[in-house]
């Protein structure tokens, strides 16, 4: 019973903490570019404002257009519930493993792409086709990276993975170096951050995510934006908890839980800062170079798997 309550609280933390992470990245980025910058809690204000606004729907829109935001948001929120953030061993973690997580993302993306094409404007279809191009290349790389981890810990369950890594004394796995680098590249591509997609612009040459949700307004837009923030949060939590799992609570007593919360907050803020620094330093690349970029991610994950077989197993 306690486990379920904790699982719900943890999911709530992920869902309601996600806008702060996005705002934090934006704030640090503005500081790095010596701009004033909105405060980190600005995304909450935006979401509240959007929820209060009237919804305008195009005449040519089908019901899919209306239900897509709810589906996308709820699937992403469901994905949040299987990611171990503060504690491991929660009942929700036992239900789904990391392959299900990838499946959730695929389902969400499917509805996002459908919604983009639904109204029939040029931008929506363009965004959808771009998103699917990127996704079809990013997904194998992500799965390969995850399998690299799974080969070491002998499980695809996220909580088991993290538990195994905490229980071991500190080890330097060559394959993890590669899987981490590959998954960072995939995460950047999947969450639409700068070298692949720019979340802050509406330039038709470059936009991918923005093009798909261009027709949305009001609470639909809020849900779509929130879903994107959740995705960034999930990927960040996955990266920091899989590759430096120290501090994640192992049992359900208050002290480890509080410690786990503090540690994960610190790790996420650090990761957000690193992301902001990378985004400030890098330029957005041409869309036609994205396959090469994701090919690099795939090769990295493949090398991780090979170095696991060659160097670690004997």
């Amino acid at each position: 019973m306690k486990g379920w309550v904790l699982a719900i609280i943890q999911t709530g933390l992920l869902v309601f903490g996600a806008p702060f992470l996005t705002g934090w990245v934006k704030w640090i980025k503005c500081k790095l570019q010596s701009r004033q910058g909105p405060p980190p809690w600005q995304p909450y204000r935006d979401l509240v404002r959007l929820f209060g606004k009237e919804v305008v729907v195009a005449e040519s829109a089908s019901p899919i257009f209306r239900i897509a935001p709810y589906v996308v948001f709820s699937i992403t929120a469901l994905a949040c519930s299987v990611v171990p953030m503060v504690a491991i061993g929660l009942p929700t973690a036992a239900i789904a493993d990391v392959i299900v997580l990838v499946g959730f993302f695929a389902l969400g993306r499917f509805f996002l792409a459908l919604a983009g094409m639904d109204v029939g404007t040029a931008f929506g279809g363009m965004g959808s086709s771009r998103e699917m191009t990127i996704a079809s290349l990013a997904e194998p790389a992500m799965l390969m990276g995850v399998f690299t981890l799974a080969m070491t810990v002998h499980s695809t369950n996220l909580a088991t993975m993290i538990g195994y890594l905490i229980a071991q004394p500190f080890q330097l796995y060559p394959s993890f170096v590669f899987a981490a680098m590959g998954l960072v590249l995939v995460a950047v591509a999947e969450t639409g951050r700068i070298p692949v997609d720019n979340p802050a612009t509406h330039l038709e040459l470059t936009m991918v995510h923005e093009a798909m949700i261009l027709e949305y307004s009001g609470r639909h837009l809020a849900l779509m934006e929130w879903g994107a923030m959740l995705k960034l949060m999930i990927y960040s939590v996955l990266l920091v908890n899989l590759f430096c799992p120290w501090g994640v609570a192992n049992d359900f007593t208050p002290l480890p839980l509080l410690l786990g919360l503090a540690v994960i907050t610190g790790k996420l803020l650090l990761l957000g800062t690193a992301l902001a620094v990378a985004e400030t330093g890098l330029a957005k690349m041409r869309l036609f170079r994205v396959p090469q970029y994701l090919g690099l991610a795939f090769i990295l994950c493949l090398l991780g798997m090979l170095s696991h077989v060659i160097l670690e197993v004997n």
């Binding site: 590669f178 090919g295 690099l296 090398l303 170095s307």
Partner: protein, 225 residues
């Protein structure tokens, strides 16, 4: 012996081995000549750190000499020399097209697998903890060869050749804690002389065929027509 039973320093050597292989792949994918030279210098740097770590853990101090020779030659001198040549020949901004980049990368992956299976029986002859890295060093050699095959420009081919030598050096260090000093010194001077000769060769190529693209060599004839 699985990885978890090794001391941390040897795990670090294995990780460095994997990173050396990774820089090999980066060399394969890189299409700007200056960043190619930099990546080559990084590979040398990783070799230097790995050799130092191995010297420390095994207590064989003659490895430090090899390590510092690597540092002096492959991290500092040869990249500096190549860079100077590239600036002199004014090909700094030149971009080389690598035909079918993803295909070549997949080929590289296949070579890694191949070298792993080739090395499986040889590995049993060594008793060192780091003997698993023989496969990695063979892969570095083969990927260097793949780079020589797939590149057109002479500078990139020379870097492929040098990275092959890196692979050989790494194999020697990881499998048997280094070759005899005489052999090692000989190879180091060979590489040094090769680097200088290649420099002269570049200028000859340029004045002969007007470019560093070795495909032009196919059209050479003994007599001018």
């Amino acid at each position: 012996m699985s990885l978890t039973q090794l001391p941390l320093a040897e795990q670090a050597v294995l990780t460095l081995a994997a990173l050396v292989l990774f820089t090999s792949f980066l060399l394969l994918a890189q299409n700007r000549i200056v960043s190619l030279i930099h990546t080559f210098a990084w590979q040398g740097g990783l070799l230097f750190v790995a050799t130092c770590l191995m010297a420390l853990t095994s207590g064989r101090h003659h490895l430090f000499i090899s390590a510092f020779m690597t540092l002096a030659l492959k991290v500092v001198f040869i990249p500096w020399q190549l860079r100077r040549l590239v600036v002199k020949l004014d090909i700094r901004r030149e971009v080389e097209t690598v035909g079918g980049p993803s295909l070549i990368m997949i080929g590289g992956g296949a070579l890694v697998l191949f070298s792993y299976y080739v090395v499986l029986p040889i590995r049993e002859l060594s008793f060192l903890a780091t003997r698993n890295t023989i496969a990695v060093s063979l892969a570095v050699v083969l990927v260097g060869m793949l780079m020589i095959i797939t590149r057109r420009k002479a500078v990139a081919q020379v870097i492929g050749f040098m990275s092959m030598e890196n692979g050989l050096f790494f194999a020697a260090v990881s499998a048997t804690y280094g070759m005899p000093m005489v052999v090692e010194l000989g190879i180091a001077f060979d590489v040094l002389v090769a680097a200088i000769l290649f420099g002269i060769f570049f200028f000859q190529l340029r004045s002969g065929i007007g470019s560093l693209d070795v495909d032009h060599l196919n059209r050479l004839h003994e007599v001018d027509r």
